[in-house]
Assembly symmetry: C2
């Protein structure tokens, strides 16, 4: 069984920012209520990604907030991260489970009903579903699912769900009505003038909507 | 201890070619005397690289020629490849050993005396040294080492060595005089009109030079 984790407010780092800035934003955002952190930098080589993962791990030490590495299972292993998040064009989740073991947190990006039906709950701990709305940080994210699409995906999913893509303080309460356990954001925190306050407001909005 | 391997003629696949072409070239080149194969496609996502590794593994089944995956330790693990080859900007070789275990073949690209001095023979089974001459298939390969530079690197290395970069039928005999155990080529096979005959000639040239 994977270590316990809380999907309520899941910060995915902004690949356009240098690691020093990501570290500062992450520290503030966790102080404001972020419950999980994912390092995502698709253009980084393995050595750089490992160094950035270790920097974030140091920031998160003692907070109880898990560190997830996007795509690179080998980097997650080398960094001693808590898990990995894979997309449909990355290695299968089962490959991540085989390398990282039963305690790792393994997330999967999934959108279509076919992808939902193929999910193996033994390999996948949560699914990221999106984009909820239009997003600026991921060019290939596809059409927005909105409330109905997200709700439909939640009914199909055999595992826990987090919504991602275009989520802001304005729509976070709406997202909460779909059945997802949490919201995942990039720019709502990475571009916030005060990431700590922004995290607090995002979390409050989601929890209000959840009722 | 890693499985036995023979560095004499090491084919690194051409990332500019589709996998169907790579498979055909590999099959012919192995029939002509290739002793190791490395799948290198830096631009491929994990899922695609896994599929290509499995295709090459099928070609190599029963030949005794090991399959090495470039960079991605996780893909090497998922494919059941024989090992991985990492560069200085990839994950450390020790990370590969930790994931792939004692039987895996782990190669490292290394050039400078500082890089040579840092090699841990417990993690690294062979070093690829280069470029021997000017190369067209790797833009960031650096200045040519030529015979003297390669010979010097061989004296510094605590592990087995293979030369790479700009090696052809014309210079393969010269390379053999430097102390490396073998030659690694991309375009000398991937662009050959008859990869089987080209492999045979490359191997013969190297073995003649080795004396």
């Amino acid at each position: 069984m994977p270590v316990p984790f809380d999907l309520t407010l899941y910060f995915v780092t902004d690949h356009r920012q240098p690691i020093e800035q990501t570290v500062d934003i992450t520290r503030a955002a966790v102080a404001g209520g972020v419950t999980m952190v994912q390092l995502r930098k698709p253009e980084a080589h393995g050595r750089q990604l490992l160094e950035e993962a270790l920097a974030l791990k140091a920031v998160l030490a003692g907070t109880g907030v898990p560190l997830i590495v996007n795509d690179r299972i080998d980097v997650a292993h080398a960094a001693g991260a808590d898990g990995v998040h894979v997309g449909q064009s990355d290695l299968p989740a089962a490959a991540a489970r085989a390398i990282l073991g039963p305690d790792a947190i393994i997330g999967l990006s999934s959108v279509t009903p076919e992808e939902m039906a193929a999910i193996d709950p033994a390999a996948v701990d949560y699914v990221g579903i999106g984009p909820f709305a239009a997003t600026t940080t991921k060019g290939d994210a596809g059409d927005a699912l909105a409330i109905e699409g997200t709700r439909h995906a939640c009914r199909l999913s055999p595992v826990r769900m987090v919504a991602i893509g275009g989520i802001t303080e304005t729509n976070a309460a709406d997202v909460a009505t779909t059945g997802v356990e949490g919201i995942s954001v990039v720019s709502a925190l990475s571009e916030a003038s005060d990431p700590r306050a922004a995290a607090h407001r995002l979390r409050a909005a989601f929890e209000t909507g959840r009722g």
